[in-house]
Symmetry: D2
Subunit: 286 residues, 4 copies
Amino acid sequence: MAVLGPNRYGKAETRVVRVTRHGDAHRIKDLTVSTALSGDMTEVHLSGDNSAVLPTDTQKNTVFAFAKKHGVGAIEDFALLLARHFTDARPAIHHARVAIEEHAWERNGAFGHSFVRSGREVRTCVAHHDGTRSWVVSGLRDLVVLNTTNSEFWGFAKDEYTTLPETRDRVLATAVEAAWRHDEPPQDWDKSYENARGALLAAFADTYSLSLQQTLYAMGTRVLAECPEVCEVRLSLPNKHHFPVDLAPFGLDNDGEVFFAADRPYGLIEGTVLREDAPEPGPAWE
Amino acid sequence: MAVLGPNRYGKAETRVVRVTRHGDAHRIKDLTVSTALSGDMTEVHLSGDNSAVLPTDTQKNTVFAFAKKHGVGAIEDFALLLARHFTDARPAIHHARVAIEEHAWERNGAFGHSFVRSGREVRTCVAHHDGTRSWVVSGLRDLVVLNTTNSEFWGFAKDEYTTLPETRDRVLATAVEAAWRHDEPPQDWDKSYENARGALLAAFADTYSLSLQQTLYAMGTRVLAECPEVCEVRLSLPNKHHFPVDLAPFGLDNDGEVFFAADRPYGLIEGTVLREDAPEPGPAWE
Amino acid sequence: MAVLGPNRYGKAETRVVRVTRHGDAHRIKDLTVSTALSGDMTEVHLSGDNSAVLPTDTQKNTVFAFAKKHGVGAIEDFALLLARHFTDARPAIHHARVAIEEHAWERNGAFGHSFVRSGREVRTCVAHHDGTRSWVVSGLRDLVVLNTTNSEFWGFAKDEYTTLPETRDRVLATAVEAAWRHDEPPQDWDKSYENARGALLAAFADTYSLSLQQTLYAMGTRVLAECPEVCEVRLSLPNKHHFPVDLAPFGLDNDGEVFFAADRPYGLIEGTVLREDAPEPGPAWE
Amino acid sequence: MAVLGPNRYGKAETRVVRVTRHGDAHRIKDLTVSTALSGDMTEVHLSGDNSAVLPTDTQKNTVFAFAKKHGVGAIEDFALLLARHFTDARPAIHHARVAIEEHAWERNGAFGHSFVRSGREVRTCVAHHDGTRSWVVSGLRDLVVLNTTNSEFWGFAKDEYTTLPETRDRVLATAVEAAWRHDEPPQDWDKSYENARGALLAAFADTYSLSLQQTLYAMGTRVLAECPEVCEVRLSLPNKHHFPVDLAPFGLDNDGEVFFAADRPYGLIEGTVLREDAPEPGPAWE
């Protein structure tokens, strides 16, 4: 006998740009918003009765309308606003998940109306609301960092398939994907974000690394240390291998100077660092 | 006080092609293999002591060596073989996750040595092994399907942000991503795969659809009906919107003839269908 | 003194799907259409006077309207129809270039209204019209082919940077991008396409290859031999390297059985084969 | 009778990272290098005789070895060095084309060994050498810019397929792809690059735009004005449409505040600005 299990539906990747015009100095917020709702959805799956279904098109419209009515400040606030709206407005909707990505722009010179897209990382958040409680995870992706030294890798386990030589000096590079869960909302989401980002960057730089796992753990603990409002950090760090090129056949040495940046395969190190007393996450990571 | 939470590490996206030469009729298997191990990994995170760490480079080597030694049949078998090896070989490794994607090829004419890549969907699997028990999820992604009719969408909830008109005839298109969990291993993974794939395609085609959720549920139940070894199906169906173009300004009608295929945003319908008596999934979906 | 040089403008990548409903057996054509116009465009560049500019939005509308009015048969015919329209309709437009990509679909089972996207190559064409004359180039991309044997590479030039060993048996794989110019329009574009595609596939398979250049030339000449209406073929063949994995450290040999499919870098072989008496190409390749 | 037409071959997308260690303040150059050679290549195409073919693998090795021996300064210098080497070293090679992309990094804080990838545009160059003469084109891609105002579009040609309303205020956004040809080499390629980039950004910002063509022409002339060593500029500007969302159904106005950033289709404006006395380009743009 088949039954319906967990399900959700929504509009993914609504691309909204909000312009604010205060005199000559405009501001822009450039977001990709994905909403997902769940609740009393058995009938729509079993019989196609859509009476509980707020169309995904309506969800998209709501994103645009709210950008106008409420403006867009920190993405966490905008995500919460939307999540609360969907659960409050429709009794059949018991749970809303709103994920937002923010694409950064910088001013183009001194012009108040002209902008250049920053190549900085993408800032992310996911907000959940169940009608009563809220959960927010903030994060980033595509923060690409590289250390030219202060990284070793040796003393590892070896078996019959191990050929990797040990190294006392290597390039360490990764594209940081990180997300952090808040015990309680910070006073200022933007400041909290910059603190967490700064902690990740600093820990990557100043950790003398014997393995990427060690660096990951240092990055997570640094965020916890710098951001008291954060109770858990999850990191996914691809090891973007930079292999030293063997130049011996050409009569050249290669003392950490010339590297081949490989695409695939890549190491992938995933880990969590959390406070001992972190509360249960509930649906925060879903 | 910061503590280490769940973590794993491995080599992602090892691209291995295995050729088998029986006389003139060669065979190829083209895989992307990702391995992830976990176990006694506290020390490597805290101090950088790598003694429990089997390098990701070794994991990659193992994939290649096993492709030679054991050949590659069904990807589920190959994934299980690898997962068992990693947990059996290293006491510090308590759990292995092996994910494989298979890229299909067809013969190029009557030539035994020449192949054309099929554009069929990508076949996928994820196998877990914890030293004692195994879990296998099979699946596919990028199975792009479209119905030109037999799809309606009306009777949905409306609020102040609803502008979508109801429709009694629309194009329904999606890129199926599906995964199914096995109660027990089928006798023949390849046959089971073809059965599940066939069930998905048939249910998509012959379900008169009042909503994509209804189609999703029909696809899931069809897999359960056709594959007794399957106990749970998870589906992620982007609604690849095909909007009818308004040709009225040009004095033309458009009776389901000309559509604009939109990129973003898109609806995203996610759901699970499972047997009432499906056993606990354990780590199967992780 | 700055002057305006060659220029063109248009709407790129209009995604149009045309459905034809003859009884229960529907047909779909799925195209990506890019138009580019040029002509008396000095003023718009110098002063922003748009009086000669037919908006790119109008070009997009025209694609949709023509799909309705004229239907969509062979993409070459549809491209020519559009190119002629733009030059005929607007005196300021002296030249139109229309590029179309066609994405193939197959029937989903016996259902007349249900389709599965074929993973076959993308069919392409570019049509030019200057008000009087037309030029058409047909082609394809992403036709991925692989030979497991019948490929050697040796006897090449060597210098102080050469380390590649010679080989008498290797995997040869490429993603064919090809375009062919027509001396005069074939009677049936679709049949001509299948002939050219078949010639490319057959020549790839049955050429015993001493270099990818040799294979390229064989593929080009085969198209010319099979398609009398074609006077020139241009091919771009990435050498999708499949490197044999060194299994010796594991006590295993590797007699053409296990390969690593590399992403980058890749060889890239580009070449042209044409009839001695091929007419001047004019703007055909632009 | 089939004959061989224009052809070239090489190694595409060699990913080389060059680290320079002067005390604690390291430097990195991160390049993607593509080489393409042509010359006496008839035999390899006709018979597979590779005696004139310097393997693409050797070309890759040369890139790595030269990065060590000569270091990497401006990419134009490195490209020329490689192009000259290939034509000088092998009599059968008559022409070399070397294309380089540079991926920018910034320092990660005050650490001399730690870097963050800048999201700035990608800097590009293409150098040609025929044994005697050289040609260099410099450029960039993915410089994404947006003006929130100072852009109009009206007074355009209209036909029966025109529905676009005129506008006196719109968002104008594009991802600049530009390349500029040098009359003679500048004294300092890096400085020349920054001048050209600055000219593009400034002209985009301070041009009150009546059409994207006008902006394009202004950007090209600005580069010519600021960079006396440049004789020709080619620009490809996708019109990244930001459509104002119709909020009237929700009782809201939208005075240039909320936009939908569309993916496809997009306008594409391509044009050239050159000095009246610009010399013949030869193979520079190939």
